[in-house]
Symmetry: C2
Amino acid sequence: MDRLPGFRDFYPEPLPHPDVWSADARQYIFDKWRAAARRYGFREYDGPPLEPLELFTTKSGEEIVGQLYNFTDKGQREIALRPEMTPTLARMVAAHERNYKKPIKWFAIPQLFRYERQQKGRLREHFQFNADIFGEADVAADAELIALLIDTLRSLGLTAQDFIIRLSSRNAWQEYFSQRSSDETKAYEFYQIIDKLEREQPETSKAKLAALGFSYDEITSFIKAGQPTAELNAILQNLAARGLGDFVKVDYQVIRGLAYYTGVVFEAFDQKGEFRAIAGGGRYDNLVKLISGGKVNLPALGFGMGDVVLFELLKSRGLLPKFEAGLDAFCLIEDETLRADSLKLIQDLRAVGYAVDYSLTPAKPDKQFKRAQEIKAAHTIKLERTATGELSARMKNLNTREEKVFAPADFAPHLSPKS
Amino acid sequence: MDRLPGFRDFYPEPLPHPDVWSADARQYIFDKWRAAARRYGFREYDGPPLEPLELFTTKSGEEIVGQLYNFTDKGQREIALRPEMTPTLARMVAAHERNYKKPIKWFAIPQLFRYERQQKGRLREHFQFNADIFGEADVAADAELIALLIDTLRSLGLTAQDFIIRLSSRNAWQEYFSQRSSDETKAYEFYQIIDKLEREQPETSKAKLAALGFSYDEITSFIKAGQPTAELNAILQNLAARGLGDFVKVDYQVIRGLAYYTGVVFEAFDQKGEFRAIAGGGRYDNLVKLISGGKVNLPALGFGMGDVVLFELLKSRGLLPKFEAGLDAFCLIEDETLRADSLKLIQDLRAVGYAVDYSLTPAKPDKQFKRAQEIKAAHTIKLERTATGELSARMKNLNTREEKVFAPADFAPHLSPKS
């Protein structure tokens, strides 16, 4: 019996098979995400992985159903596994925003699901770091959010040589569109063509744009010039003041496919262009109003960063640590008459925070020592009986080979904890 | 639009409504679970929240389907949201156990789902701490696992006055049964009656037991005597050696309803008997063989501890901390000409690990200070321009009211980090 296609098993390292993922690397990335969010004053939230189907179709239209894990439950409800976090977040904020001072800065690390047609290596679930700000219309919020995105990637060891934030603006494109077309109903169609410019043949884009009355050449010139709008300039200056100017550039090629973005949009890419986007986000000032049925109106912005592309990027740059069991000590029980006392010592060490393991059943001393080395324990500890019949504990640092002998009660303070 | 019945929204504290759950308390509990597991040398794993339906029916029979979130996916697969972690774990271990030294000690914190008929306050999802050991048949493994269970609860502030582990044995009951009946096919039916003894009317149990040829009175005497078997004695002695004897008692009333347990079984209860079981587990030496279709045979044991009962217990005992944003500093920007320099200071502090927030847009000094107090920042920091035009930073400890003035470059080392 195997797992479903497009889903992952996460194992402890070293990994037993190329087909499985590292639970240790996953937790390492989650810890970095969480720590970065907290340094920026973001608070954690979460919602249900299952939601009413309507929550997602309200936001994205009926066409999203084709990509969803949706079904009818035993209570005849139309429900879906969440494909993104933003609708849930907008629902939660709309329900209780009055109880929180603005701006609301929240983050989550949800698992998300999409039922896309199965392709080689294409996953149907991933984890995504979501950070959002509600209740602040000023671009200072956009800059703060982008700074968090940059610092999150930096905290994983990535530099300005590794990634770049491509900054763009729906407003800039809206202005571009309005100056050249009087048919606002075509705006979204226009954005979709811009969104595909990089991936489609120039001839295809050219024909589509011409049909809407736009010049392909003029548009490529507009993108190439990359003249920042006033709001983009404010963001660039804000980030430059923080010393983060090298991590961001204006790139109107980025427009973000989704319908609901309203202002600044951005995507993070690896500098070598080897991977899909590392992260993406922007303003969605109308969504809370839409989800709440008009009851609540709050400006909003956010980004999402998936674990899959990030993991591949970190791996390719050699930035993932080698993960071990991380034990402070392995207790050797070479004399079975000392097992009960050894259990007490192990318990006392664990009680003060040390990670300690031992052989559950009697085993030859060399086998126990080999196990201690295999799991990369920092120390071995061993109880011994002195000539006068008293107990002492011998600690050996497996790196320095240094040995020390203590009375058991004195032992704990001499071990330096791992964290 | 509201969330589905039986699902939870997790918000940052202070909570906006009695109907929602604390994301902070959840993370606090997860951190304690993870830390306890690591102190005991357990490694983290995870699997997919969706699995083939067959994985669960193989283990628990077709009757489990009535309690599952199961459906047919767009690829015509019969699938289910996981109601428990053990089948996934057994599948994962069976697939790659050769690559791991025994005993395998693993843990996970999965979200689990059950489609039970909706009752007031009854949830359809919860998170569960799962810890399991594979490849060790000796009861030393049972003792190690129970010690982890005890220490996990102790790390949350619970004492022997708060909870007790009721220790029992399928082997003891198997022996009891075999000595009195020659029809082994009735054994599971017999266990089910024992499992319900506490909840059913004595007359009902008496009749059911008589139908199988057993004496209710003899059974209640057997339970009351609570004579430990040799294997239970070994566990009690092992735990006593660790100083954990007060946390455990033999109680044959506990038998665990599930069919697959094979040896020692146990449940953790609050001492006042106010709540359902806090945790439960035992040996399941045949499950890996069953799930792997006979390919792999490994003794196994484990426990599960849900977040819901635990949360209620901790809350009722006053053992949940009050959670705040946990900021090290709030930066006051009283002079807007200093905003760019303030952003740099904030960035530098965050870069060395401090959690810092500030007003994204210009605000009156008293409003900024109020915000710093509201979010319980440990310090305020403020840039000032000296008479000679140079910058200095003023730090105020909001508890002690102590103030210090530094050059910005010297500032970071003077703030003590939260963690």
